[in-house]
Amino acid sequence: MTLKTNWAEMVNPAVRDIAPSGIRRFFDLVTEMKDIISLGVGEPDFVTPWHIREACVYSLEKGYTMYTSNHGLLELREEISRDVSQNYKVSYDPRSEILITVGVSEGLDLAMRALLCPGDEVLVPEPSYVSYAPLAVLGGGKPVHLKTSADNGFQLTADIVEKALTPRTKIILLGYPNNPTGATIDREHLLDIAELARAHNLIVISDEIYDKLTYVGEHTCVSSLPGMRERTILLNGFSKSYAMTGWRVGYAAGNSDFIAAMTKIHQYSMLCAPITAQVAALEALRNGQSEMRKMIAQYSRRRRLVVDAFREIGLPCFEPRGAFYAFPDIRCTGLSSDEFAVELLKEEKVLVVPGSAFGEQGEGFVRCAYAASVKDLMEAFKRIGNFVRRRTGRGKVVTFYFGKMEQKDNEIRKTV
């Protein structure tokens, strides 16, 4: 006699209790629809630049199909070290302080698992990328949500951090430029947070995957701040800046003892990042700067278009200064962010992601990715405008702004 296995009971409760993703059901909704314009895609609309793909094809022809060292190709680590040091004046030893990971996602998972003991608290600013809190839970920790909001530009401040501190607080998780809000964080705020981290012996995990996609002001690398190199795990990768999402390659940089701990988990769970992706990443760092700047210039141009479009439509939208997302406030429509996204999709065939998918603080907002062609963006905003006008019952909606639009962009647009 065989017993029927009840898999629901078999699954680890920590896994079972993770809430299902807030966006999965949109896949079901869109399967039968045609002519959808999607502003729901959190990845570049560019294909990886040809020279990078070509370098990878060549490596396959030459037979580079083997494992690399657990740490990743030394040449790649050396290039990363050079790149970080050149951009942010903070240096990492390529032999002991850098680990090549399967994207930032793996880096974050490794960092959490290597750091957290049961009950340790992880401060997660909200709205935040969808994986932050679940990975903290899976790592045995307890995510503590810190509320950021539109009126402070979705920036985390030392005040907010301080109020959430307990004796169990171990990690502050930062992700700026931010997905989903497009917010960047001011250097002054970072300095204050860094001071707190030092005073309370906290570790900062900094996900800086969108660092190159900063359009107003300069990106500050957390580990470049005084005294922070020793208590920061810097996570970055190639997905956004070089349009390499599907390659799954990134890196972690930090204290050598801690990198060694992360490498222990990595060597048993992943062994190494795929060599083809590592070869491509190497080519990206060595010869990809000009293509990267062109892509960034495109995002920057679209960003203006998007901010302008929301002003026209009358949805308050704080000015996004990085990444490729706008995060308009949709409360004037009287809809929840989920209702807004579903009804907009059904009525106008434009897909946006409800802010609630990124935590409670995202409620009342939707995420619009402007990694889309200007033509699609124009059409999408026409449709969103129609939808909002119907819902607000106004011919033309009163314009309201959070903060002032910066008139002076970085020089990036002019580099093309």
Binding site: F27, Y129, A309
Partner: protein, 159 residues
């Protein structure tokens, strides 16, 4: 101004309003700059890239290398002008290297092109020799891949 040109170079159909929004400028200002650029012949025209092959249209084009002897005072320019005045000539460029001018020509049939080369071009004064290469297939023109398989293959929603 350079930015406006870059935008129009990739998409000539952008309106001044759209360009203004992209660049954070005002619409009248952008319209004024474009007018000025047109007047100064910095913007030479607006065209549509057409893949005639796909339509099955019978069109033949050829690249012709032309060697000429330069003339006093005007160098190569006078001969170049006599060549580029022909409407069937799509482009004329002065080159460094083994020949002087490279002429792109378009015609309905190979015969038409052969006729042009032998009766108009090769027999022209100061033209020393020509070499005609017929185009078999166009893969990329004006920076645009003709048959681009790289559509948007992303999933419709990604966190």
């Amino acid at each position: 101004m350079k930015e406006i040109l870059e935008l129009l170079e990739t998409d000539a159909r952008l309106t001044p309003g759209q360009i203004a929004a992209i660049l954070g400028k005002n619409e009248e200002e952008v319209a004024g700059i474009i007018k000025d650029l047109e007047r100064k012949n910095i913007i030479n025209g607006y065209f549509t890239l057409i893949n005639w092959d796909k339509l099955g249209a019978e069109k033949v084009s050829a690249l012709i290398e032309v060697k000429i002897s330069p003339q006093r005072d005007v160098g190569f320019d006078a001969v170049a002008e006599r060549i580029y005045r022909f409407p069937e000539v799509r482009s004329v460029r002065l080159m460094s290297g083994a020949y002087d001018l490279v002429v792109m020509i378009e015609g309905g049939t190979m015969k038409e092109i052969a006729h042009f080369v032998s009766f108009k071009l090769a027999s022209m004064e100061y033209v020393l020799s020509t070499a005609t290469h017929f185009v078999l297939k166009t893969y990329k023109h004006h920076g645009t891949i003709v048959e681009d398989g790289e559509d948007d293959r992303r999933q419709v929603i990604v966190p």
